[in-house]
């Protein structure tokens, strides 16, 4: 609703500062809350920060963190870093594509899973690594994929779950 958007954007700008340099932080917050960047929110930000909409659109489509489409309940990120690649990450990725019945990277039709690649989560000693939501799964291999998917499919939304280490 337009009123809510105005309030939301106004609040975010108060929190982060009504400056150009707050743009990315604001967008990250929106992405976190809504799981994507809704068009009306982007237009509102463009108005409030006085930045031309095409520039906002460019920022929204430039960075990997942002999506213009909603993501699934569980975001599965396969690390495609060099160490993971050398230890078999492409095969794990292919197995995930097959098991999630996805023709390519993206969200499953039932909006349960979004499969993405990510360039290095920094756990190279435990390659190959797959991150689902906030949990890091080390030493992944093809046989482990099915079980992992089954575990998350049964679980409700964990996007805002408290990370494992707290």
């Amino acid at each position: 609703m337009p009123v809510t958007e105005t309030d939301e954007v106004k609040e975010l700008l108060t929190q982060f500062g009504k400056r150009r340099s707050s743009l990315i932080a604001v967008l990250q917050e929106v992405q976190r809350t809504h799981r994507y960047l809704p068009q009306p929110t982007l237009r509102r930000i463009s108005q409030q920060l006085e930045i031309p909409l095409p520039e906002i659109y460019h920022v929204a489509t430039f960075y990997n963190c942002f999506s213009l489409e909603p993501v699934g309940r569980h975001v599965v990120q396969v690390c495609m870093g060099t160490a993971c690649h050398v230890r078999g990450a492409p095969k794990v990725l292919d197995r995930l594509l097959t098991d999630l019945k996805l023709p390519k990277l993206g969200t499953t039709p039932d909006a349960q899973f979004t499969l993405r690649t990510v360039r290095c989560v920094g756990c190279c000693g435990l390659a190959p690594v797959v991150r689902v939501d906030d949990h890091t799964h080390p030493n992944m291999s093809q046989p482990k994929v099915k079980g992992m998917i089954r575990k998350y499919a049964a679980r409700p939304e964990t996007a805002n779950a408290v990370p494992a280490h707290k």
């Binding site: 095409p54 906002i56 489509t61």
Partner: protein, 241 residues
């Protein structure tokens, strides 16, 4: 006021002058695609590269830098047509032809740089992402209705959310300034990608049309064909008149 040397010619320019401007002042031709005098330089097309050495004999290896974005600094030694620059231009233009064979401007630049074959896979794109349309809309027309979207291979010129913005006044400046879409080259074939007009030394247009298709600016093929093939050159001049 910085003093620089271009191709051995010393010149003193006002602070803030780019090397490209300085070279043009001296009448030295440097090819460009994404440059326009009325717009802030982008340095995106890389055709205006020149070889820059440090002052008083390079203490570092000389580098290729885009002259449009390079402010002249005291002691710079510039070469606009060195072997290295020529090789860079030739390779860049070979790749430009592969990316966008239908652009007359690119075919002309390629011929002038001595590109004789195109070994890369033709991509047949219609945009080289020079950014002129975006900068024109933003800086000259003060509308800012279009911009880039995406990154890397996904990057493209876009209307936000694929909807024409209310800021677009339909002025057509973006079409006007585009170096690719306003004039098509009729000569390139699927197999060679290169127009090859100048290789044949015959205006290629006449194979398909009864008029030369060059409107305001003769194709490089015709320019070459003119003095070397006087009978052809006469025909072209007659058609234009």
């Amino acid at each position: 006021m910085p003093k620089i040397t271009i191709n051995g010619i010393p010149i003193e320019v006002e602070r803030g002058t780019s090397v490209l401007e300085a070279a043009r002042f001296l009448g030295i031709p440097i090819p460009t695609l994404c440059h326009d005098d009325g717009l802030i330089p982008a340095g995106a097309c890389r055709l205006c590269l020149v070889e820059v050495s440090g002052k008083n004999g390079a203490n570092r290896r000389s580098r290729l830098l885009s002259s449009c974005s390079l402010p002249a600094e005291d002691g710079m030694v510039i070469h606009t047509h060195s072997k290295r620059v020529q090789k860079a231009r030739r390779l860049l233009l070979e790749l430009y032809v592969a990316t966008c064979p239908s652009s007359k401007r690119i075919q002309d630049l390629a011929s002038a740089a001595g590109v004789r074959e195109c070994r890369f896979e033709a991509k047949n794109e219609h945009c080289i992402q020079c950014g002129l349309c975006v900068r024109m809309c933003q800086q000259q027309m003060m509308a800012g209705a279009i911009g880039f979207a995406g990154r890397g291979e996904r990057r493209h010129v876009a209307r936000p959310f694929d909807m024409t913005s209310e800021r677009c006044r339909q002025c057509g400046a973006c079409l006007y300034i585009c170096p690719v879409c306003e004039q098509r080259c009729q000569g390139s074939t699927a197999t060679t990608t290169l127009c090859s007009g100048c290789l044949n030394f015959a205006p290629v247009c006449f194979q398909s049309y009864s008029d030369a298709m060059c409107f305001l600016e003769p194709c490089h093929a015709c320019e070459l064909a003119g003095p070397l093939r006087p009978e052809v050159g006469l025909k072209v001049r007659a058609v234009k008149n």
